[in-house]
């Protein structure tokens, strides 16, 4: 049961300033982790909310912008995990011939993107995150290394493995689209 003080809360101007500072970085992240424009909008809002909610937990270690970036990335990870959970629940419902709720459908013309998302779901999480951040969000390797708390060399290795694994999974697709 929620307590009564949930109805009022602070209005931290600092949080708003921080959000304004990191806002330009949220859209590329949302595009990289979402499957549709609507989902990207949702994810962008979820990241904003997460940063504002967690603002009080920042203990001054490191730049606030970097901390906010990690919060945003964590929100994206939760989003991807939830999406995967949804799909597994839907698959198990369908396997038992139970009513299946409608999940978000890929937008028209996004069939290739949907294939790519399926393939990304089959990668190691670190590899998938690295390739999303590099190829879909367009972040340089140095920033990816900061975000994933890896060395640049490890990021490059993960990217190379991710590409080769993706190429394996998407072979029929790549052959069809020269």
């Amino acid at each position: 049961m929620p307590s009564g003080d949930a109805f009022e809360g602070p209005k931290p101007a600092e949080a708003e300033r921080l959000l304004a500072a990191v806002a330009p970085r949220l859209a590329p992240l949302a595009r990289a982790f979402a499957r549709s424009p609507e989902e990207a909008e949702d994810l962008q809002q979820a990241m904003s909310l997460s940063i504002i909610r967690a603002h009080g937990q920042h203990r001054g270690e490191g730049a606030p912008e970097a901390w906010a970036g990690r919060v945003a990335l964590n929100t994206c990870r939760v989003h991807v995990r939830r999406r995967r959970l949804e799909r597994s629940v839907v698959e198990s419902l369908a396997a038992h011939d139970l009513p299946v709720p409608a999940l978000d459908q890929p937008e028209p013309g996004g069939e290739l993107g949907a294939r790519l998302e399926e393939a990304l779901d089959r990668l190691e999480p670190r590899q998938a995150e690295a390739i999303r951040l590099r190829a879909l969000a367009g972040l340089p390797c140095a920033e990816i290394a900061d975000a994933l708390e890896m060395t640049e060399g490890a990021v490059q290795q993960a990217l190379c493995r991710a590409r080769r694994h993706l190429a394996d999974i998407l072979t029929p697709c790549l052959e069809k689209h020269p």
Binding site: M1, P2, S3, G4, D5, A6, F7, E8, G9, K11, P12, A15, E16, R17, L19, A20, A23, L26, A27, R31, A32, P37, E38, A40, E41, D42, Q44, Q45, A46, S48, L49, I52, R53, E86, V89, V90, L98, P99, P101, A102, L103, G109, G110, G113, L116, I131, R134, A135, L136, Q156, Q157, L159, C160, R163, R164, L166, A167, L174, H177, P178
Partner: protein, 506 residues
């Protein structure tokens, strides 16, 4: 350079991280190695595919930059409650996560102090203010609407994790929540309304900021359909569930619900957008006192849980169980089939109560499906209703049970109802007549087919249920009442129950 090193260098080159010499050496190796050449070709195609996907996604969010002015008020307790909602509800559909749009507005309407724009999307933290004159409607993608009256201020707080949240500073909001897995929360400093699939109005006074200091502020919650949970601040916080047809009031400084009264008929009519005003007091009439020739609303929600809003519903009377059994139905406008509904819900028309019998449901049904058949127990025949007569008029024909598979014989009925789909009908042996109600296209006509006279008659009841299609209609012989439940119409998917006693032949 080995094959692995060459391909690693090629990948690094794609990221702009490889040196010129390293890349040149890798290319030399690849040119002379067939397997590396094939792999490099695939990686090149993949790179092109990823670049195309990135270009496609670059269009996303182009028109919706993140606003910096997000207002923070959601406390940890609310976040926890939203998370609990998500966990408890297995919320696979998340329509509440999409921001609403300011779909319709008129008069003095501002968003964050600036004049509102048509079809404006409202990011988190948007404050919609309606001045002395005007109104505004916020519309979610799934059809949920929040209609703000004049002198109101509402802030969209975001999707949360299990519900969409808004804050009503003052004024009046009429919410029409589409039946789905997502919830809605509208809070004020006097209380918070949490709902799922319903129509309700929340009003927080004073209408204008700066009213007289000695006037206690009030919150009024009027529920027209569904159930709304009202949470009041305090230690411990108070919680009360308000069923349909009641209005609750909260007065500032008294953190408990003060009075819970039936909605006046006119207000109920206004909230549901009905053409005529049903007398809500009728809803408490005993079944035996329901007058003939008038549709009367029932109020089973006051006795306990109900199946909620359902469409494509089929019901049939069971003498063994003593009520109408909900054989099949679908939830929400998405028409998701309700799980395991066969025999789960039973409506007792005499007690005006929904029950959930545990006994196995069997026996012979007088099936009342869309344009289906009903059982003429006096003559031992099925009556088949189809909208396939001349110009689509409803054609009634009869078929004996042993003639299954043979073409039914048309009855010589005159003055048949006009073309319609998705109506519902059933037979009453007492009146020796078939009652037909509704149909696609906002139909709210009531027709009776008098079997003895082989003639149709259009009735003009004193009250009419909201126009609907895909509803259930069955005859309850124990109460001598026709019962309508659910269906869908201009007001969305319905959860209401109406009864009708067919008058004798003129």
């Amino acid at each position: 350079m080995t094959c692995e090193e060459s391909l690693a260098a090629l990948c690094a080159g794609m990221d702009g991280e490889a040196g010129r010499e390293e890349l040149a050496e890798a290319r030399r190796h690849i040119a002379g190695c067939a397997s590396c050449r094939a792999e490099a070709g695939r990686l090149g195609k993949l790179d092109a595919l990823l670049a195309a996907e990135r270009r496609r996604r670059a269009r996303w969010l182009a028109a919706a930059p993140v606003r910096a002015g997000v207002q923070f008020w959601l406390g940890p307790a609310l976040a926890a409650s939203a998370a609990a909602l998500f966990a408890a509800g297995l919320c696979l559909e998340r329509p509440w996560k999409t921001a609403p749009r300011l779909a319709v507005f008129a008069g003095e309407v501002t968003v964050n102090g600036r004049p509102a724009r048509s079809d404006q999307r409202l990011p988190v933290g948007s404050k919609v203010t309606v001045g002395e004159v005007g109104s505004a409607t916020l519309r979610y993608r799934d059809g949920t609407q929040l209609a703000l009256s004049e002198k109101s201020e509402l802030t969209y707080l975001g999707p949360g994790r299990g519900a969409r949240s808004c804050r009503l500073a003052f004024g009046r909001v009429l919410a029409k929540v589409t039946e789905n897995a997502g919830g809605l929360e509208i809070s004020s400093d006097l209380g918070r309304a949490r709902v799922l699939g319903t129509v309700f109005e929340l009003c927080v006074s004073p209408i204008l900021a700066g009213a007289a200091m000695d006037t206690p502020r009030t919150l009024r919650l009027a529920v027209a359909r569904g159930r709304v949970e009202l949470l009041l601040p305090g230690q411990p916080p108070a919680r009360q569930v308000i069923p349909a047809g009641l209005a609750a009031k909260v007065i500032e400084g008294l953190p408990r619900v003060r009075g819970c009264e039936p909605l006046p008929a006119a207000e109920w009519q206004g909230l549901l957008g009905l053409d005529s005003a049903p007398d809500f007091a009728d809803a408490r009439l005993p079944a035996e006192k329901v007058p003939a020739g008038a549709w009367v609303p029932r109020w089973p929600g006051r006795h306990g849980p109900t199946p909620g809003s359902r469409t494509c519903a089929r019901m049939a009377y069971s003498a063994e169980l003593g009520g109408g059994v909900l054989l099949e139905s679908f939830v929400g406008e998405a028409r998701r089939r309700a799980a395991a509904d066969g025999g789960t819900w039973l409506y007792d028309a005499r007690a005006d109560r929904w029950k959930q019998p545990t006994a196995a449901v069997g026996g012979r049904w007088s099936v009342t499906a869309n344009q289906g058949e009903c059982w003429d127990s006096r003559r031992g025949r099925f009556l088949c209703l189809r909208s396939d007569g001349p110009d689509g008029t409803v054609r009634i024909s009869s078929r004996l049970p042993e003639d299954r598979g043979l073409q039914p014989i048309d009855l010589r009925s005159s003055g048949a109802p006009g073309a319609r789909d998705y109506f519902a009908a059933d037979y009453s042996p007492k009146a020796d007549a078939v009652l037909l109600y509704g149909g696609a296209g906002g139909n709210s006509e009531t027709w009776a087919y008098r079997c003895a006279a082989d003639a149709w008659e259009r009735l003009s009841p004193a009250n009419n249920p909201p126009p609907r299609e895909r509803h259930a209609l069955y005859y309850d012989p124990s109460a001598d009442l026709f019962v309508i439940y659910g269906g869908e119409g201009p007001g969305g998917v319905y959860d209401d129950v109406w009864v009708f006693r067919l008058p004798g032949a003129p």
